[in-house]
């Protein structure tokens, strides 16, 4: 039996979803690819044990978040390039939201961004998010609160969207 049995299938099935999370975390396509390469290499190295324990998905997600936070601790590599266009350009509202949100996300701390991605993109519960980040549920709650608050400040044009999310949490 090959030690990578099932790995290719796992990656084929999950890589695009993971890549989207990586992109949300890093805000940069090249960094997201770097992050994915680094994480998948780790996953491949531990694959037989992950299969034995039935935890490849959980491990991969955790590795993605931790690797990202670890990178960000060492260096700030992001340089958001484009300012959001003024209203009135030929962009629809969704495009404006996307650009503004993209830029605002890059201004959060790594852990705040991880919380936003895990809670509101991957739809994980507070408990699951806490497990991945290795912190308490209370910390996740406060990080979420601060992250949404900061997003409101950074992107006031989207404040309704963050307020709606904050209210839904209560």
């Amino acid at each position: 039996m090959d030690r990578y049995d099932g790995f290719r299938e796992f990656v084929l099935a999950r890589q695009q979803a993971l890549m989207r999370s990586a992109y949300l975390l890093t805000g940069d396509a090249h960094l997201a690819e770097d992050l994915m390469q680094s994480v998948l290499l780790k996953v491949a190295g531990h694959w037989p044990r992950l299969i034995r324990h039935g935890t490849p998905e959980a491990y991969t997600r955790k590795a993605l978040i931790n690797q990202y936070i670890s990178w960000q601790r060492r260096k700030q590599r992001e340089s958001p390039s484009a300012d959001p266009p003024e209203r009135g350009h030929a962009h629809d509202d969704a495009t404006i939201d996307r650009i503004v949100l993209h830029k605002a996300l890059t201004r959060l701390t790594p852990r705040q961004r991880a919380v936003i991605v895990l809670r509101f993109y991957e739809d994980l519960s507070e408990r699951e998010t806490a497990e991945i980040l290795g912190c308490s549920v209370g910390t996740v709650k406060s990080q979420t609160h601060h992250a949404l608050g900061r997003l409101r400040t950074l992107a006031p044009e989207l404040s309704e969207l963050f307020t709606e999310t904050e209210e839904a949490r209560r």
Binding site: Y4, D5, G6, F7, R8, E9, F10, V11, L12, A13, R14, Q15, Q16, A17, M19, R20, S21, A22, Y23, L24, A29, A32, E33, M36, Q37, L40, L41, V43, A44, G45, W47, G54, P56, E57, A94, T95, D97, R98, L101, H102, L105, I116, V117, F120, Y121, D123, L158, L161, F162, E164, T165, A168
Partner: protein, 387 residues
């Protein structure tokens, strides 16, 4: 979906397509070889140093090769199923291109893809997977993964295909798409000789057993679902839905034999026939008002009397498991069970287990990630988790 999720989805949609599976394996193998070589070299190092001292020479250390940066390729082109030489399958799944789930590269809406145990993925363009709305068409895989059965639109019937040789045989009877219904259930015998299909749930029309070798057919009684076919019998079950009396029926493939056996009202999910032909496994509903809530036990029912032979509590199943469905037997004491681990709207994990009917011990076999949930994948020997 709330607006923040939608906006995050929009941002995430800018992520480039990647295909890193082969790269990660190659790179990981190389690292592993290097580690093992280093470990072997460490053992020899003492001797080498000693030799160097004695001879007064040390080998120079050459310049290290810089790591080549591999940029993820945005290819992802999937080939069609080759005419022959395809290895045993790991699983098959339907893909959807207008889904809330991440859309796969080279997507064909509603099309079937198969994945071999070696990891190769192929489109199966000859197999009808989806028409429109809620009309899905089945694909079956033999337990050893070497034979598939599917509905061919040009042939207007099922075809059975040996993946290694590419040999195909069409069923001897025409079956219209209307006859298939919206969600037909298809079972394939281990040797590919027999096919059994019913519209699912099979309440509106008879199903059919098709003998691909003898070129004959045998109607299945309405309301009964095929669970397994061996060389001599087809095992049918009926649960308590629609006010029916639940039951089991081990029907000879020669036709006209056997008779339905009533089982207790609480039994609702049934396995295929055990290898010794004496019984089959079933799950039992609990007392809650929820229709698909089980009491956590598994029971072996006598195939001749319908009476419970043994009931044990399952141990080791995830607490929030949903959609529990029993399938084929792995051996004399273990039967397959498929579940999804939660009822979250975006849950797409499909987990298979082996349940020991003597001890109740559950062991996980594999976790699958079909693009659009457990309803849209097919695993050889294991059932589809169903609600």
């Amino acid at each position: 979906m709330n607006r923040l999720r939608e906006a995050l989805d929009d941002v995430a949609a800018d992520a480039p397509a990647i295909n890193l599976a082969d790269w990660a394996i190659t790179r990981s193998r190389r690292r592993r070889r290097a580690r093992m070589a280093a470990a072997g070299a460490a053992g020899a190092a003492g001797l080498a140093v000693l030799t160097g001292v004695v001879l007064g020479v040390f080998p120079g250390i050459g310049p290290s090769q810089p790591d080549r940066t591999i940029v993820a390729a945005a290819t992802g082109k999937i080939a069609d199923l080759p005419g022959r030489g395809v290895g045993p399958l790991s699983y098959a799944y339907r893909t959807f291109c207008h889904s809330s789930a991440p859309v796969l590269t080279d997507c064909r809406n509603g099309g079937w893809r198969v994945v071999t145990r070696a990891g190769e993925t192929y489109h199966v363009p000859q197999a009808l997977g989806y028409k429109s709305g809620q009309s899905f068409y089945p694909l079956a895989i033999s337990r050893d993964g070497r034979i598939i059965a599917y509905y061919s639109r040009p042939a207007r019937t099922f075809k059975v295909r040996d993946l290694a040789s590419g040999a195909e045989q069409a069923a001897p009877v025409a079956i219209t798409e209307a006859e298939l219904g919206g969600n037909a259930r298809l079972e394939l015998s281990d040797d590919g000789r027999y096919l059994a299909f019913t519209g699912y749930p099979s309440r509106k029309a008879d199903g059919l057993i098709i003998d691909m070798r003898a070129r004959t057919t045998l109607p299945l009684p309405m309301g009964w679902d095929p669970r397994s076919i061996d060389g001599a019998t087809v095992t049918l079950t009926r649960d308590a839905k629609y006010g029916q009396q639940p039951g089991i029926w081990v029907m000879p493939l020669t036709g006209g034999g056997g008779s339905p056996i009533a089982v207790g009202e609480a039994y609702t999910r049934f396995s295929g026939l055990a290898p010794d032909g004496s019984g089959l496994a079933a799950l039992r509903r609990d007392q809650s008002p929820y229709p698909y809530s089980y009491d956590g036990t598994i029971t072996v029912l006598d195939a001749k009397t319908g009476k419970a032979k043994k009931t044990v509590t399952m141990r080791g199943l995830r607490k929030d498991s949903r959609g529990l469905t029993l399938g084929a037997w792995l051996n004399a004491s273990e039967v397959t069970l498929a579940t999804t681990p939660s009822d979250r709207w975006n849950e797409n994990r499909h987990i298979t287990y082996a349940v020991n009917v003597e001890t109740g011990q559950v062991r996980q076999l594999a976790v699958y990630r079909p693009q659009s949930g457990a309803f849209h994948d097919v695993i050889p020997g294991a059932p589809a988790a169903a609600w």
